[in-house]
């Protein structure tokens, strides 16, 4: 799994940082997504998919 994020689309809901904190964090100034692990291990895949589904601005892409 390769994760990419679009910080222009991001609206700083914090859903990803809440659901998959091992993979996503938030910029302390504007809350936009920070990608910690672009290639998370299989144990994190379910949480990352969940985070991508919860993103209100479709800022997370998985491939």
């Amino acid at each position: 799994m390769i994760v990419t994020v679009d910080r222009e689309r991001c609206c700083s809901s914090g859903q990803c940082a809440l659901i998959a904190p091992e993979v996503f964090d938030q910029d302390e100034h504007d809350g936009t997504v920070l990608l910690l692990r672009p290639e998370p291990g299989p144990e994190l895949h379910a949480a990352v998919e969940d985070a991508a589904d919860h993103c209100p601005c479709s800022a997370i892409s998985l491939s």
């Binding site: 809901s13 938030q26 809350g31 936009t32 589904d53 919860h54 209100p56 601005c57």
Partner: protein
């Protein structure tokens, strides 16, 4: 506040009564919504003023509308069927009512605030919120074995948390809470409500002036580049969005738990359920009844329905969050239900700015209450709990409880 701020309230008055009154179970969507089940996820609706609107009841369709900014939130340039106003061509919006703006104007203001509401910052507030919650539970216990949970607990918690965020001095908090309580209470006489509303407006103006003179590390002090009127608007938006909503989730959430004793017992036995329990209560109760609407800026398609330019599209959140395509037995409260993206905080660029704060407030507020008052129960029959049916934000006017 600008007249645009009144829009959801106006919309509420134009809806057929059966779409907003909860005649049966206080936790289920209004009968007019459940009665329309099977009629498709996007349904035409005639408003009381004769205007046509569309009601969205499917989760996929609601998400599609809210993710598409061609469905506008800008009630100045695109007034909807609920407002008599003519569309206005304005160069730039100079108010601070960002909830009623579209990108890029909305984006600019929202981005100034989002850093203040990150998951990390909200978790850092957890201890302070716990102090506030415990303080109020102890006060209830000290005063006897019975209380109305709304004024004793549900309202003061979000009110004091907003004071912390906005940097309201301790000495001014009584005045702030008094005005807020009256201004937001639909049972107050109209002239008192108007006076309290004006009082809050004045209060925020004075607060902004005080922060300009002596900035602190609060939210307003971080936004002093904005003009005063925008700062006052923003402070009032945060108050309006963060006070009633959380208060009603605390009170109605407690009511729902007390009426589902099996679920409450599970939660008490396994506090690790608290996170999913909060998401489930948000989904199940969907207290923002009919406040979310958009205006189509061109002919647009939702699912297989085309709505014309200018159409008002109303998201029926309580019903969307019971979409059987996404939840098994959606009418059942199940605190261990796997997390499914619900619409209680909305979706798209306007999704609730304060949602991470709301989660912490609910987790701490409900968690402390059920732990510290193990004998908590209703002090009146459930059918005598007064419901906020006429309000934009659903909940209870009061919740008499006892714990002896």
């Amino acid at each position: 506040m600008t007249s645009a701020a009144q829009t959801p309230t106006e919309l509420r008055r134009l809806l057929p009564a059966d779409l907003v009154e909860r005649a049966g179970c206080p936790f289920d969507p209004p009968a007019g919504l459940t009665g329309r089940r099977g009629q498709g996820p996007v349904q035409p609706l005639r408003l009381a003023n004769g205007a046509d609107a569309w009601l969205v009841t499917g989760l996929d369709e609601a998400r599609a509308v809210l993710a598409d900014t061609r469905f506008s939130s800008d009630r100045v340039r695109h007034p909807d069927a609920t407002t008599d106003a003519e569309p206005r061509q304005v160069e730039t919006r100079d108010d601070g009512m960002f909830v009623f703006m579209d990108p890029p104007e909305h984006t600019r203001l929202r981005k100034l605030l989002t850093g203040q509401f990150t998951v990390r910052r909200m978790r850092a507030l957890e201890d302070r919120i716990r102090e506030i919650a415990v303080e109020h539970i102890e006060a209830m216990k000290a005063a006897g074995a019975e209380a109305d949970l709304v004024p004793a607990y549900a309202l003061p918690i979000p009110s004091l948390v907003i004071c912390e965020l906005l940097g309201v001095d301790y000495a001014d908090r009584d005045r702030f809470q008094r005005n807020t309580a009256v201004a937001l209470d639909s049972t107050s006489p109209p002239d008192e409500r108007a006076r309290a509303g004006l009082g809050l407006y004045t209060f925020m103006g004075e607060l902004v002036a005080a922060k300009r003179a002596a900035p602190g590390d609060d939210l307003i002090s971080g936004l002093l580049d904005l003009p005063d009127n925008q700062l006052v608007d923003i402070a009032l938006v945060l108050l309006g969005a963060g006070h009633e909503t959380t208060a009603n989730m605390l009170a109605l959430g407690t009511f729902a738990l007390l009426e589902n004793p099996g679920e409450l017992a599970r939660l008490r036995a396994d506090p690790a359920l608290l996170d999913t329990a909060i998401e489930e209560l948000l989904r199940f109760l969907s207290i923002v009844q009919m406040g979310v609407s958009r205006v189509a800026t061109e002919d647009l398609t939702i699912g297989d329905v085309t709505v014309p330019a200018g159409a008002t599209v109303i998201i029926a959140t309580p019903e969307v969050n019971r979409d059987p395509a996404h939840w098994d037995h959606p009418d059942r409260l199940d605190l261990s239900r796997p997390r499914v993206s619900h619409l209680a905080f909305g979706h798209g660029v306007h999704q609730c700015l304060g949602q991470q704060l709301a989660r912490v407030e609910m987790k701490v507020g409900l968690g402390e209450l059920i732990t510290r008052l193990p004998e908590l129960r209703l002090a009146v029959p459930a059918d005598q709990v007064p419901l906020r049916e006429e309000m934009l934000v659903f909940g209870v006017h009061s919740l008499p409880v006892t714990w002896s």
